[in-house]
Symmetry: C2
Subunit: 341 residues, 2 copies
DNA sequence: CTTTTGCTTGCAATCGATTACCAAGGAGTC
DNA sequence: GACTCCTTGGTAATCGATTGCAAGCAAAAG
């Protein structure tokens, strides 16, 4: 039984013939210790295979060197890039990552935060599962710094890292306009959802500057099937006889899945892409897969993770006198064969 | 300052007019407390917004309700399914997940384990980054239960969950044989790597039962380019003039990437798939994307995660008197358009 | 030679929750 | 009525590391 337990600092101290205080100081370097004892303690520590008990240390120091990361469960694919970069960033600061998935319901979301607070994490990075639900969860964190990533809930307590939406939309519109597009139709954005409305407005604003008209198709869902349905309607409405096309000359899809559906239908129905219609996507769902069949915007998840960690570490160090900061990062445009070269 | 700190059990006890012992008992239910005091303590707790300090509790109980998950960094795509299912399983037991990525080098791997031990996690789930490196890391865990998942390092200390390789290979060979394949060529497996040799052997063994010959192509790498190179060689060797084909009538690729490369080349060179040659993959790299262009084996990552948690929780409860257990799960065959219907 | 300064080292308190142990009071038994 | 048994509450020790305070000792200053 005795051998199974991890050795404690007291064991090390006894073996080295010093007090626990000295042993602690020798190992942490909190205060100087004579070379002789320093060496003895180190040797004792090594020979016993001593490992500092982080739990006890955390209790005393009121600091756990742990950060909670709360992510929504859906769209897991591209969040793994975020997890990795956050993990890397934290490792760089000798901190650990406690991961938790959230559902878009208030109770579960709140429980996640409560549990992390109970663990006394030093900070929290959260991608709010829903724009309505998370505000009070975030505020419940109280003195614990919170950084939101990917999405925003308005709060004056927390920093946030997100996509530069304006830049994203303008990059895409410019890309299409440069390639001759004059009428853009948006597919897969919901004109009844706040965030989507903002995106549509941004697309229109940029379009106006370039003399491009931008309108939104009726919302049929931001998934593959939605793209298929939307494209079917387009074809039946605008394709006249053979090769005639009186519809928009560019389609901006909410994401790659929608774009895939759209592309499949257009090709099947003989509408030339990118000859007659160009297609692009606002969100790369599968970064890492070098596909290039669709021109798309790659969200800077790794950079967002790094930035979130930077903000959080900074906020932890700074204490409570802080102003909410907001960092926006530009996406990367990945040209594909669905727009002209 | 005082309001910023979390309230402690002592605060609750004072407010309720009882001792901390009673407050603790009322909240944990460790021992019965009279209804009157029970109510008072609960009210005090709620009105103060008390949250048990898990750090202090862990120190006293010698149990952190935390599990470490160590994953290799590469091939992130399909590990996210594992992370999710492990997370779910643990949440079900009110345990937290500490995530850590490993590199295939011994020092880093060891540090990960040491750090988790320092945090006094109750158990560890690990996907060994390399078959050579991780053994002593795992053994360093000592009394802390370890479950390996996805890959195995021989140890008598740890349970493991993995793919039922024999079943996997036989499912695939049977699928091809049922569809008329008589000569199977394996692409993307390395005849110099132990694990791959075992797979090739298993394929051959199953083939023998069905009267199918199985041989392995020279190793050109288990990536897209490797598939391309392998297919180019095949075509130049076996395609005679137009439509003649004297090569194998089925290709088993190490994974979807290899298969994609193979398919691209075969189609470009006019070899009919699945008419002349059928193609299948041993490993679905992007589960969740419903592609169906390639017949593939989907590894049961969610189930593996669940099983790993089950084994670990069991091992934690059981203490040290345990025998290494090994659970093998069958993959799921997902038919695609690269083999005959 | 004495006093002061400076550096090490040890003692004991501390972080917050849990629990072994003790004491008091009530119920039940002979 | 005296005794035991059971329930409930409090006191204080405990988990393991860190650190304020003070003591001890040597070198430097007077």
């Amino acid at each position: 039984m005795d051998t199974a337990d991890q050795p404690t600092l007291a064991d090390v101290a006894e073996r080295a013939g010093v007090s626990v205080a000295t042993a602690s100081r020798a190992l942490t370097g909190a205060r100087p210790v004579s070379d002789d004892l320093q060496r003895k303690v180190r040797e004792a520590s090594k020979s016993l295979g001593y490992r500092r008990n982080t739990v006890a240390s955390s209790l005393r120091l009121q600091r756990t060197e742990t950060v909670g990361l709360v992510l929504p469960r859906y769209t897991t694919t591209f969040l793994s890039a975020l997890i990795e970069s956050v993990s890397d960033g934290l490792e760089h600061h000798d901190m650990s990552l406690v991961l938790r998935y959230s559902e878009p319901d208030a109770v579960h979301d709140r429980e996640n935060i409560e549990s992390l607070i109970g663990r006394r994490v030093d900070g929290i990075i959260i991608c709010p599962p829903s724009l309505e639900v998370s505000r009070e969860s975030i505020e419940a964190a109280g003195a614990i710094p919170v950084v939101q990533v990917g999405r925003f809930v308005e709060t004056d307590r927390s920093d946030s890292v997100g996509l530069d939406e304006d830049r994203a939309t303008s990059m895409l519109v410019a890309h299409l306009a440069d390639r001759g597009a004059g009428r853009i139709l948006v597919v897969g954005l919901d004109a009844d959802a706040t965030a989507d409305v903002r995106r549509i407005r941004a697309l229109q604003a940029t379009g106006a500057l370039r003399g491009v008209s931008v309108s939104a198709a009726e919302f049929t869902g931001a998934v593959l099937d939605g793209g298929i349905r939307a494209a079917e309607r387009l074809v039946s409405e605008y394709a006249s006889g053979d090769d005639g096309w009186s519809g928009p000359d560019a389609l901006v899809c909410a994401n790659d899945d929608v774009a895939s559906g759209v592309l499949a239908v257009l090709r099947m129905r003989g509408v030339a892409v990118p000859g007659t219609v160009q297609v692009a996507s606002l969100l790369d769902l599968a970064p890492g897969r070098e596909d290039h069949s669709t021109t798309t915007l790659r969200h800077p998840w790794p950079e967002m993770g790094r930035e979130a960690v930077r903000l959080l570490i900074d906020a932890i160090g700074r204490g409570s006198d802080r102003v909410a900061r907001r960092v926006s990062l530009a996406p990367q445009l990945v040209p594909g064969s669905s727009t002209r070269p």
